[in-house]
Structures are given as structure tokens and as C-alpha cells.
Amino acid sequence: MNKQITVTVNGTQQTLEVEPRTLLVHMIREILNLTGTHIGCDTTSCGACTILMDDKSVKSCTVLAVQANGKSITTIEGVSTEGAMNPLQEGFKENHGLHCGFCTPGMIMRATELLVNNPNPTEDEIRWGISGNLCRCTGYNNIVKAILYASAKMRGVPTASTEPEFV
């Protein structure tokens, strides 16, 4: 028995039909065709599916689509304005915070809420803050650097050098 739900997706209200058991991540990827949100595991462990729901970062693989009824969700496709990159996206690009790109949308969505709650985080706070998002390619150093860059940009202070530092 399908259910009809109303969700605001990246600023646009949509009415959709879903099964009660449809996962939010499948609704996003297959009904809305927003494939920037990815699936990396089946135990809520990897965070590749992280999006914002009413401004809180959630793992969309562990939310039923019907739970999003009446709510507002933001995916990676919705964070930039007119194709220009937001500070987090810019931070990831300038600091080589991604390799294969698969965990990146989830990281950026998680970092978005992290910076809202804590606009000037320390490195350790960032590492704890993204510990629900796994990355296999980068070794995390540059992801942390990217988030620190975005934090500085958003606070209007000079960003650290984006050149790689060697001993």
C-alpha cells in the first residue's frame, strides 16, 4: 500500500508516492534521481548516505522515506548556488580532500551541520565530528584540512595555506 508524502527537497516542495518500507536514500537516488548521495554499507556504519533533514545531518539509509513527510531535506546537489562552490566544497577542492569522491557528499553534509553547531572547531573536534563517515582513500588529514579551511572562510578570517606541508 503506497503512501503519499510531501517533502521539501533542496528548497522545492515535492509530493511523492513511496512504499512504507522505502528507505529515504532510495527515494532520493531512485525516485528523485539525485544520485550524489551514495550507499556504502548496510549497517549505518559508513556515512556515505549522509544528508540534512531539517538541518540535522542524518544517515538516509536508516531513515524511512515516510519519516521525511513534512520535512525539509538537503542533499549535496542543493548546497551550492548556481553552480558556484560553497566554502566546504571549495575547501575540499583546494586541499585535496577527496580522491574517488564516493564518501565526499556524505562528508560535506556532515561537516555542514558540524560547522553550524561549532563554527570554530579544533582538529580533534572535527575528527570526532566526522567519525561516523568512513573514507578509504584519503587518510582523513586533508578532509580535516578542508573543513578547517571552510570554517575560516565562513568566519571571514584568512584561510591556512592550501599547499601540501612536508617535513
Binding site: 580522491h99 564518501c103 578509504r136
Partner: protein, 772 residues
């Protein structure tokens, strides 16, 4: 230079296999065996066929009609696509459900009823080799045991003599357990067979699209799918690490179903399936020995290995190297005597293993030599840094021939170790350690000075299923001076779109931003063996440089024609030719290229393109010197990595930012098996940690704040002196960390611990020695 490929990923516009949606596409889900070893008595698909949305269910008997139920492995063994009577490992594919939606396919999977007759599985490779053990491969008519092959390298008698007369001999058993690559994207495909045109397009997570195309043609050629009718497309791949090299049964079943129905079929495995059924790495039981003098000179090494391959040898090694490049285990030290042997065995585990972010079996080799070197240092009571420094091959002795026949191209091991020791303040750390030890506090310093061997490989020795391991680059420059370059490799995040453009830019002088790089579509890319084992820069990178050089040669001819001088009167700098003595008379590469289409010399071929298939004359030998410092909590066994400094030498560096990124990632995938990861089976063949809840992939919290640097010793035979680096850290890090932890515990008589070294292992070892 920042990466060109990032823009699409950052906007969520990456194009991965699961993003592909084709009209009429069906979904496939796989029924898997709960038992490690069992006879299949009955597969009842009646209830499954009644599930709304289910189109069909495929079993081994269906594939048998087309002789597709077995397929070759990359090591010329055989592997089941779907079983007809016996399952050989837990989670083995047993049947495939095809449905109109993902959820319907899952519903169908739950409704399939399979009756099994479980048998006692062989999980212990030593037991598997015992005479009288049940023979697992009953499908091989003449097989009387579970032994797969025996391999040797070096000089057995000479080594025995040296060991017999040496002052000091140390011996250590070490087990390197099974681990999994866990790329964040799992494996999958969309098989799209066009019945009208008899053409298959296979969208697939594969690191080696051309090799796959040839394998499909070999397996399915008899039903009409010959190689020109097959197109393999690797779109963006979310991490490969070697796990996306093998041909998994899921791919073949999807092709078979698409072939029979004429409709696209999508198969994407979920994480549990990925962990439990495919791409394991390592699983080597090693006995390592070192002979030396009591002053600390290494005289010889000896290694004996038992290789657990699961139920079939589906390793991804060059065909003449069943143990991959394990014979690099002689290491970075100057001695001339070594012997090593290995035996591979069948067990009831998933097949494999892959070269997980390392060159083939080099992680195992380096772990063995770096651990035994530390054991040797401990035995003679000498500082492990001193032992290494005094035994290193000297810079001026390269090219250097190893006791197992490798010609190391270049290296400066002394400089690397010296640098890392300076950066960490080694002497001060040893002093601090002595003070802490006097107070009963546990602090450890671990070294790893390794030589990697990458860039497979020269055609005289290297092939996969007979295909030589060259690689290729094809460059075409358009009239307006912009270029497209295609390669036989396939990036899964390594940044080829940027680094290849940089190589071409450096040789040819066209800005890297103007060079579009493509890989992964077998219809357009030149043939290559793909990306794994750090081979891209050494092979395809070299091909790019050589092809670009061919273009410079053509450009010279056109420039001479345009400037009306002879070719010898021209001087080249990347981007333009000028006349010797008349520097104002120049032609830029853009002008030259334009002329190639509009005003080329008579008799010359028009256009401006070059292709090169590069056969590397040798492998390349990156190296590194790593130091890890740990503090251990005596009460809990808790291990804190205080500092980790990695000095890598990958020859000439094309893009420092990308190289550093590779090192960071490789180090995190190095600490993982050292402290957290291991696939655990019980005696009944159940995998006990087959999800990410229990298989511990490091997060940003466990991953240390890596510090990296480099020394540069160019490769003398590579066109741009580069060696490749993507995997060195995964190879070099585990022994550095293991050595550090064991160093911390050594005052209590603890000489070795197998990775992963967990707090529980540390605590247990201390308790057994009465230290707590």
C-alpha cells in the same frame, strides 16, 4: 596543480555504476550459502517466482546449459559462477533472483528455499594439507589433495650453509590475516545486451576494463559474444584498491541474464556480501628466519610460506608469479644469500587474494623482512636503526641485483632513514624511552625501511592470462591546440585526469588545463592492463611521456617547414620551437598544431596524434623510511600512536599534493591491519565479523595525524624518472607500527605479536609474562 576531476564529485555529479538507470532495467539479488561446505539437495524457487516483480530465478543448472557455470580465474584455476551440487564457502552465490525493482529482487531472494546437507569444512590450511584430509576440489578429476602449487626462489643449499655456520640465527612465525579492501563503493555492474545488434555493453566497477573484455570474450565467445561485440565501460569508481580487479560471479550472471532476456540487468552487491564473499587480501602464514653476525651484519634470510587461497586460486597476480612479487622479501639490505619457498592450499573460504593497495604480495614480504630484522636487532641487543643503517644497500651500488634476481633500479636508503630519524629526534626519543622504562612505563619506537617493487611489468616476465603487461597512451591534439588523451589504465581516485595531463604538459608544453584525459571505455581507450599495484605512473605515465615526445618530433618537422630552416637549427623548450641564434623567430606548439591541419609539409601525414604502447624495461623500486612512536597503557593494553613520520622516495614527483594524498590514504590503510582489521572465521566456517559493525575500518579518530616527506632518487629507466607511490604506505606502515608496539613490550620478554595488535593481545601478553 589542483585536481580537474574534483568539480563533478563535489557537486554530486560523479557517475558511478549504481547511478546508471537504463530503460527496462531489471535488478539482480543473489541467494547465498549459509554454510562453508555443503551439498545442495534442492533449490525451490516456486515461492520466489510468485513474488510480485520477480521475473526469473537463475541457478547453476540453468547456466550449465550454456557451459557458463564455471569460469577461469586470473591464475588459470577454475571458479564456479553458480554451483550445481556443492557450495565451497559461506556466502557463496547459489542462485540469482531477477526482478523489476531492487526491493522485489530482495523479496524474491528471501523467498527462495534451499535445502543443504552441511559437511564439516576445512578452515585450517595446515589441516587442509594433512594427508587424509578430504579433497575439496572434487571437480578436478585427478586431484588427490588440497595442495595448489609449490614455489621457490633463491639458493637453497647456499642459504642452508650460511645459516648453519652463522653466529646468530633468529626464527619467527608470523601470520598475516585475511583483510578486506572495503572501498566505500561496493562492486557492481549493469549488463546491457542488445539482442538486435548482438552487442553487450558492460558498465562495471573494474580496474582493468580491457582485460575484462578479453576474459568475457574467452568465456562467452562460444555463444556469439566475440570481442568486437563487447564494450566494457568503467565509469567513476569509488575506490578499487585491488578489490575491483577480479571477475566476480555476480558480473557473469548479470551478463548471462541480460544475454538471455535482451534487457539491461543491474547487480550491486551490498556491504555484507562484499565483505563476506569477495576480494580478501593477505592470509599468509610465514616462517621468517635471518642469519647474521653478533655485530649485526645480516648474512642471509629464509622464508617459508603457507598461502591460504580459499577454495580456488583466484589471486590477481601476473601468471608466472603465483606468490606475486613476494621474493622482494630480501628487503633493502646488502647481502647475497636467500631462499624462500611457498605452498598454496585450498580451504573452504572465499577465493582470492588481491593485491590490496600494494604490489603483488609485497605487503606480506615487507612485513616479514622488517619484523625479522627487528627480531634480529633484539636478539643481538643492538639498536634497530643502527642495524638497518649498517646493512643498507649503498646508493652507489645501484642498479643492484637481489639474491632472488630483481634488479633494484635506484635508491638512497641511508638518506631516507637519516631524514626520518632527524625529523622525529630519534636519539632524544631513545633517551626518553630509557627514562620511561626505568619507571615501568611503556613507550615504543618502530621502524620500517622498505623497498617496494611496482610497475608490472616487462613483457619478458609479466603477463596476466597471457596478455603482456604493457600499457598505453593515445594523444590527439585538435586544430585549436587543445588535446584529448586516452589511456589503458583506470583511475579509482588516484587523480589520473590531472597527473597524466601534467606529464603531457611538461613534455609537450600544452597547458594541462587544455588536456582532457579519458580512461575506462574499451571502445575508445587503447588497450592496457588497468590500474593496480601502483603500475599506472610507471607504465601508462611513461607511455604518455613517450607519445608526447613523438609529438614533439613531429612538431619539429612542421616547425622547420614553417620557419624555413633545417630541423637541426631549431631549439625546443616545452611550448615552442625557436631558431638557434634568432630567438625572435619562434613557433608555438599551438601554431604548429594548427598547421598540422591547415598547412602541413607535402608528403607528411596530416593531423597531430601519437600513440605509444610502453613495455617497461624493468619494474621501479620506490622505497621509504617510516618511524612510529607509541605509548601503551599498561592496565588496559590501550595503544596510542603518538607520532608517525613517513619519508617516501617515489623518484621524480609529478604532483606533490596528489603524492601526499596517496601517502596519507595508504598509511591509514596500513594502520588498519596493524591494529584493527582482520576477517574472523570459526571452525564451522562462519565469518563472525562480516559487516562494518564488527569489521573495524579506521575513522578519522583512529587515523593518526600523518606527517610526510620525501627523498628523491629518480628511476634511471623511466622516461620521467617517476616510480609510483599509491601503495608504498600500505606496505611500509604495518611493520612500523607492529615494531613500535613490540618494542614497547620487549623489556618484558615479548618478542613478537601477530597483527592486528589489539589492546587485548597486548594485555594478554603482559599478563602471561607476569608484567601486570
Amino acid at each position: 596543480m589542483k585536481r580537474k576531476e574534483d568539480v563533478r564529485f563535489l557537486h554530486g555529479k560523479g557517475h558511478y555504476v549504481d547511478d546508471i538507470k537504463l530503460p527496462g532495467m531489471l535488478y539482480m539479488d543473489i541467494v547465498r550459502s549459509p554454510y562453508a561446505y555443503a551439498k545442495i539437495k534442492k533449490i525451490d524457487i516456486e515461492a520466489a517466482l510468485k513474488v510480485p516483480g520477480v521475473v526469473t530465478v537463475v541457478t547453476g543448472k540453468d547456466l550449465e546449459k550454456y557451459n557458463l557455470h564455471w569460469m577461469p580465474t586470473l591464475m588459470s584455476d577454475t571458479q564456479m559462477v553458480l554451483p550445481t551440487d556443492t557450495v565451497m564457502y559461506q556466502s557463496q552465490e547459489v542462485a540469482a533472483v531477477i526482478a523489476t525493482s531492487r526491493y522485489a529482487a530482495r523479496d524474491g531472494r528471501e523467498a527462495v528455499k534451499v535445502e543443504y546437507e552441511p559437511m564439516k569444512p576445512l578452515m585450517d590450511p595446515y589441516k587442509s594439507l594433512e594427508p587424509g584430509s578430504p579433497v575439496l576440489r572434487t571437480d578436478k578429476p585427478n586431484k588427490k589433495d588440497n595442495h595448489i602449487w609449490h614455489w621457490e626462489a633463491g639458493d637453497k643449499e647456499k642459504t642452508e650453509k650460511v645459516f648453519a655456520s652463522a653466529d646468530v640465527v633468529v626464527k619467527q612465525e608470523m601470520y598475516i590475516p585475511r583483510i578486506h579492501v572495503v572501498s566505500i563503493e561496493t562492486c557492481g555492474c549493469v549488463a546491457d545486451y542488445d539482442k538486435v545488434n548482438n552487442h553487450l555493453t558492460m558498465y562495471m566497477t573494474t580496474q582493468a576494463p580491457h582485460a575484462i573484455r578479453t576474459v568475457i570474450a574467452l568465456v562467452a565467445g562460444h555463444v556469439g559474444l566475440t570481442e568486437e561485440k563487447i564494450r566494457v565501460v568503467s565509469p567513476d569508481i569509488g575506490g578499487g584498491f585491488g578489490g575491483k580487479v577480479p571477475v566476480y560471479p555476480g558480473y557473469v550472471i548479470a551478463i548471462a541474464v541480460s544475454f538471455l532476456t535482451g534487457v539491461p540487468v543491474k547487480w550491486i552487491e551490498d556491504r555484507s556480501e562484499n565483505l563476506q564473499a569477495d576480494s580478501f587480501a593477505r592470509d599468509y602464514h610465514i616462517t621468517a628466519e635471518m642469519a647474521g653476525t653478533k655485530e649485526g651484519k645480516i648474512l642471509a634470510t629464509r622464508f617459508k610460506v603457507l598461502c591460504d587461497h580459499g577454495y580456488t586460486d583466484a589471486a590477481a597476480n601476473p601468471s608466472k608469479f603465483p606468490t606475486g612479487l613476494f621474493s622482494i622479501a630480501t628487503g633493502s639490505y646488502d647481502y647475497d644469500t636467500a631462499y624462500m619457498e611457498a605452498d598454496a592450499v585450498y580451504t573452504n573460504k572465499p577465493p582470492g587474494g588481491v593485491a590490496y593497495r600494494c604490489s603483488f604480495r609485497v605487503t606480506e614480504a615487507v612485513h616479514a623482512i622488517e619484523r625479522i630484522t627487528d627480531r634480529f636487532a633484539l636478539e643481538i641487543g643492538k639498536d634497530p636503526a643502527k642495524v638497518r643503517m649498517e646493512n643498507f644497500i649503498k646508493k652507489e651500488d645501484f642498479p643492484w641485483k637481489s639474491p632472488t634476481g630483481w634488479i633494484y633500479d635506484s635508491g638512497d636508503y641511508h638518506a631516507g632513514l637519516k631524514k626520518v630519524m632527524e625529523v622525529v629526534g630519534y636519539d632524544a626519543l631513545r633517551k626518553e624511552q630509557a627514562e620511561k622504562r626505568a619507571k615501568g612505563e611503556l613507550m615504543g619506537i618502530g621502524l620500517s625501511t622498505f623497498t617496494e617493487i611496482v610497475g608490472a611489468g616487462p613483457s619478458k616476465d609479466f603477463d596476466i592470462l597471457g596478455i603482456k603487461m604493457f600499457d598505453s597512451a593515445e594523444i590527439r591534439v585538435h586544430p585549436t591546440g587543445k588535446a584529448i588523451a586516452r589511456f589503458g589504465t583506470k583511475s579509482q581516485g588516484q587523480g589520473h585526469e590531472t597527473t597524466y595531463a601534467q606529464i603531457i604538459a611538461e613534455v609537450l608544453g600544452i597547458p594541462a588545463e587544455n588536456i582532457q584525459v579519458e580512461e575506462g571505455d574499451t571502445d575508445t581507450a587503447p588497450y592496457g592492463l588497468g590500474t593496480y599495484a601502483s603500475r599506472s605512473t610507471p607504465t601508462a605515465g611513461a607511455a604518455a611521456a613517450v607519445a608526447a615526445k613523438k609529438l614533439v618530433d613531429k612538431a619539429r618537422k612542421i616547425a622547420a617547414y614553417l620557419l624555413e630552416v633545417s630541423e637541426d637549427d631549431l631549439e625546443w623548450e616545452p611550448g615552442k620551437f625557436s631558431v638557434k641564434g634568432a630567438p625572435e623567430k619562434t613557433k608555438t606548439i599551438q601554431e604548429i598544431v594548427f598547421a598540422a591541419y591547415t598547412n602541413h609539409p607535402q608528403g607528411m601525414e596530416a593531423g597531430f596524434e601519437a600513440t605509444h604502447y610502453y613495455d617497461p624495461p624493468n619494474l621501479t623500486f620506490p622505497s621509504g623510511a617510516y618511524i612510529c612512536i607509541v605509548d601503551i597503557d599498561k592496565e588496559t593494553g590501550g595503544i596510542h600512536v603518538r607520532r608517525f613520520v613517513a619519508i617516501d622516495d617515489c623518484g621524480n614527483i609529478i604532483n606533490p599534493m596528489i603524492v601526499q594524498g596517496q601517502v596519507h590514504g595508504g598509511l591509514t590503510q596500513g594502520i588498519a591491519p596493524a591494529m584493527y582489521e582482520e576477517l574472523i572465521y570459526d571452525d564451522d566456517g562462519n565469518m563472525l565479523n562480516g559487516t562494518l559493525m564488527d569489521y573495524l575500518v579506521p575513522t578519522a579518530v583512529e587515523s593518526p595525524k600523518w606527517e610526510t616527506g620525501h627523498t628523491v632518487t629518480p628511476s634511471p629507466h623511466h622516461p620521467i624518472g617517476a616510480k609510483g607511490v599509491g601503495e608504498s604506505p600500505t606496505v611500509g606502515a604495518p611493520p612500523a607500527i607492529a615494531n613500535a608496539i613490540i618494542d614497547a613490550l620487549s623489556p618484558y620478554g615479548i618478542k613478537h605479536l601477530d597483527i592486528p595488535i589489539t589492546p587485548y593481545k597486548v594485555w594478554k601478553a603482559l599478563k602471561e609474562k607476569g608484567a601486570i
